[in-house]
Amino acid sequence: MAGIVGYGAYIPRNRITADEIARQWGKDPDSIRGGLLLQEKSVPGLDEDTITISVAAGLHALERAGLDPQRVGALYIGSESHPYAVKPSGTVVAEALDIGPEVHVADFEFACKAGTEAMFVALGLVESGRMEYAMAIGADTSQGAPGDALEFSASAGGTAYIFGREELMAEVVDAVSYTTDTPDFWRREGAFYPRHGGRFTGEPAYFQHVLSASRLILERTGLKAADFRYAVFHMPNGKFPLSAGKQLGFTREQLEPGWIVPTMGNTYSGSSPTGLAATLDVVEADQLVLITSFGSGAASDSFVLRTTELLVERRGRAPGVRAMLDGPRRYLTYGEYVKVREKIRMND
């Protein structure tokens, strides 16, 4: 049986509130807080990107696993904000974490599901016996065009998972993927900001895939919502995961620990992996946890995990998600925000 032997998250300290963004665009902050259930979001610092976030998250994962990085045979990073269009993020992260050079490295992209995509592949390699340990990271400095609804949610952060076959913090009971050609959100080569199909991103995209993948894994495992201690669904805003959970029969209480979007925002590839990390930070041993991601284009990956005593024993070795969300924060004005996000066009 394969599973998670270590995990670690990282969320930058910078924040901007929904009120501050709404004020710039003459939008009603109450409708953002009340409708999309978004209060504030994390923002990367000037010197932070998907690579630095991945390194920080990877270090935390290695600390929890208590693992010699040289034993990690694969490193996969899922993101839609890899700093380079051509040149891997993974090579920098591997060197910084002292992983390799005897390591298989790849950068993944599948909109917001690239993180669980990396997890899916890492898990498979460990299950097959080809690798002893494999690390998968979902991280993003999410993009959203100024004035777009996405600007209220697109945030920064990420989480790393190390998969192995021994000393598991959580065993993976099953994993499934559900994929169709549904172009609801995209960024063309060379474009600075993504575009989306507005309301098309809802029912035919997010809900169809999240609900289908979740139902598929429940059917395969013979489990029902009430069997789970907690569940995590991809969080493009506050409302969608609550609605998806409700439609699947989960209670609000089952979603609570992983529902971190109101104060973190949507970290795209890092969203559901970080929600899972926040859940692993608090869940008891021998409990079932469901995670279902969503990536536009579109697909969802679902995993059923069963936690172990080792999770409770070792999780204190690295900072928890809530500590980073609720800990020291630096609030930016919109002007500072557009500066650090490099949204101002400067002369060279």
Binding site: D28, G197, R199, F200, P204
Partner: protein, 382 residues
Amino acid sequence: MRDVAMVGAGMTHFGELWNLSLRELFAEAALAALESAGADHLDGLWVGNMSAGQFVGQEHIGPMLVEQLGMSGVPATRVESACASGGMALRAAWLEVASGQSEIVMAAGVEKMNDGADVTAVLASAADQEAEVYHGITFPGLYAMIARAHMAAHGTTEEDMAWVAVKNHRHGALNPHAQFRREITVEDVLGSSLVAEPLRLLNCSPVSDGAAAVLLVPLTRAHEFTDRPVRILGSGAATAAMALADRADPATLDAVMTSASRAYRMAGIQPAQIDVAEVHDCFSIAEICCTGAMGLTDGCNPAHAARSGFTALGGRRPVNTSGGLKAKGHPVGATGVAQAIEIFEQLRGEAGDRQVPDAHIGATQNMGGSGASSVVHVFARG
């Protein structure tokens, strides 16, 4: 001119129908209409459609749609009068049968709005480009100016407008075809986000996909198709200045008034005889303006008619029992035909929980742009 009857009807659900294309929407409604009347052929098709060219890049939809029915060869023509396209298609079909030219003619309407187009910009192409749109205004802005003018001239309040939306949502909750089947409160409307002051989100009809179709035949042949035909007693159309600024009073919709009086005259009725009506509530202020212009509130202030229950189900003259454009949905080219279907069902006693008891005479009013075109039909139990 000979008497014409409506003998069959079919429509799709209205809403965000992501998995249905323009032609599939039309086919579903048209086949249902043919089946309901047991008809196996058409002599003509008139299809109301505002802007398939801009919404889905498809012009020349007449032959394309009639081909969906396996009836290539039958004359088929698209009718365009912005949001009144459906009502004008019904009028064209009625004229074709009334003139004696054809026996079995379909009036249909279809619009596929949810397919990635900039809907507000497409709809704005129905306003005066040089006088209005060039300066940046869109339809919510135009109707906001109509609302402001109405408030100034008649003392209409935001709460009056909210009541129209509340009433129509209450009706829509009873309509299985409606996009929104949930009730809302005055507080919900007044607390919804501003779109164009004083219009809020819940004062505005939604963006919808949908299609509707009815079958018209000479009254003398109606019983070949149904036991309960609905007669078209009158049809009236009119136009007014395209730009609001070119109208004597922006709070008065002259084209609605003129089209109604023409339809009433042809039908030989007074508005007080109408038992049930569907009017063009693209924004809640429009229902107030239109019921006033059509004389549907028996001299009472039309701004108070929804709040007092006069135009609600159970009231003296229920208006928009279907939920109206607000709650049923507004696939612009299909709206005028869907209005006729609601009256068809009401007069046949088939409206279920929305049934107006003992309805004998019904009317529809369908409007284009900010009121530059309007078409009114009067119907009676066969």
